[in-house]
Amino acid sequence: MELAGLLNYALFMGIFIGIYALLALGLNIQWGFAGLFNAGIAGFFAVGAYTSAIVTTAAAEGRIGGFDMPLLLGWLAAMVAAGLIAWPIGKICLRFRSDYLAIATIGVAEIIRLVVKSEPELTNGARGITAIPRPFGDLDYALSQMAYLAIVAVVLLVAYLMVERQFNAPWGRMMRAIRDNELAARAMGKAIERRRLEAFIFGAALMGLGGALFAHFNRSITPEAIDPMVATFLVWIMLILGGSGNNRGAILGTAVVWIIWSMSEIATDQLPSEYAVKAKYIRLFLIGLMLQLVLRFRPDGLLPEPLRGAARSDQDAR
């Protein structure tokens, strides 16, 4: 590949890493800090993507909207919608033990996928929503990619700072206490169900934002994008490999896993065409293998959860 091609590929990769890092941060709030096993990331991703698409596209026939609203409003709506969907799910499912929650959320994500597929008035069905506006989409290809990468990077930075603030604040301390020992946290007056719901909604809102950024980058969103393999399980590997409970770990894990994931695609594309198509399926196997290896050799991740209280008093001492 020549240099320009490589650069374009790197930009493309950077944007995807940014989008996935938002999903991993959202999952880190839910799993890393609140101990909630959400296996339905793809569902919240889809709600965010479609909401922003409906809000920001020009009016179209045969489906609701579009409302041709500003981009930022679309992203905000994506977060609110994902949070609103998370609310009743959390209200019902957070009473379950973590493994039941996992099953329930897989089910919910599947329901969302089917609704998206079979409600053309809402989502334009299998054809999906196209012509989603993309900021700086009129620039040259490379420049436009760079501009989008910058936007994603800024959004990710803001999200990281907002999440990191919570983890070091009493809210994060309380969530970690609830995760460590529910009985004692309740005896210390903490309203477990309400707090878990907060964490679940907060995480889901970030996942919705990730979905919105994805839709605007692609300029379109179809039901195929809601693939639990890539939108849910890949994110889990990213978080676990990076280090659940650690926001920087979540971002690092995203970068590492995404690079491996997309390199594997380049590798399979080199094969003769009759194998290339089949070889794509081996990438799914790769996801499972990576998860096994990570859990076996690096269960705490590349950047394990820090002792937050100690870190804080060190800062005070400095």
Binding site: P170, A184, A187
Partner: protein
């Protein structure tokens, strides 16, 4: 302050607490003794709202609290410790104490984003209180350790420390002396008395250390088989024939 009426806890056929009625007066330190399996800890769990009783009522500060859960009871001033330490093992020792005070501004997501200054100020206050508590419990040197790495005795102290981080009215202590060294134990007794006299805390204390019971507790209640056997001052209870038979047995006089 606390009234239990005919409490029963039926664990699918096994009645750990079986028709237990008692009253705890404000300002007292009540000792709860009895043989292993008498239902003392189950009774604590019922009072603290860990699970609801099968039947019977619990009244706290004049109100029926039978169906309240432990977080609601905490906010009414009822705090408990656990017989088997329930520390937050991945939090530091300091954080274990700092998470206790109720209604911290930083427990709100929005306050942390929008009024960080106010949160920091409240945090500084909570942190100061936590350091004071650690100093009293002689745990300052492990303040920044993972609580899960503490020894059994230190975890018991941490349990007690948590009750000192809030304005409690009634404190349930489940075997505070188990695994704590003698010197520190005397200090603990002193602190319990100070909290009782000066801050008006009422205590109920499960303990097998008769010295501690004798020093601190009046009245003393002896439980056996899920119900109250006898209630009275230490010497009355201790010389009661039924108590000797059910609990203190022949060791009485030998080791006491």
């Amino acid at each position: 302050m606390l009234e239990l009426d005919q409490l029963v806890m039926d664990f699918s056929g096994f009645k750990a607490v079986n028709g237990c009625s008692l009253k705890v007066e404000k300002g007292t330190i009540t000792g709860l003794i009895g043989p292993n399996g008498a239902g003392k800890t189950t009774l604590f769990n019922l009072i603290a709202g860990a699970f609801p009783p099968s039947s019977g009522t619990i009244r706290f500060l004049g109100e029926d609290v039978t169906d309240l859960e432990s977080d609601a009871l905490f906010h009414r001033g009822l705090v408990r410790t656990f017989q088997i330490p329930h520390e937050f093992h991945q939090l530091t020792v300091l954080e274990n104490l700092m998470m206790v005070p109720p209604a911290q501004p930083g427990e709100s997501l929005f306050a942390n984003w929008l009024s960080w200054g106010k949160v920091r100020k409240a945090e500084a206050e909570v942190e100061r209180k936590a350091w004071d508590t650690l100093a009293f419990l002689e745990l300052t040197h492990v303040a920044n350790q993972r609580a899960g790495n503490l020894s059994g005795g230190q975890k018991k102290l941490l349990e007690l420390g948590r009750t000192m981080m809030t304005d409690a009215k009634l404190v349930l202590l489940d075997e505070p002396a188990a695994g704590v060294n003698r010197t520190l134990l005397r200090k603990l007794e002193e602190k319990i008395q100070i909290l009782n006299r000066e801050r008006g805390y009422t205590f109920i204390l499960i303990e097998h250390d008769m010295e501690m019971i004798e020093k601190l507790c009046d009245p003393v209640i002896c439980m056996a088989e899920g119900a109250v056997l006898i209630q009275g001052d230490f010497h009355t209870v201790r010389s009661d024939a039924r108590v000797l038979e059910a609990y203190l047995g022949e060791t009485q006089g030998d080791h006491a």
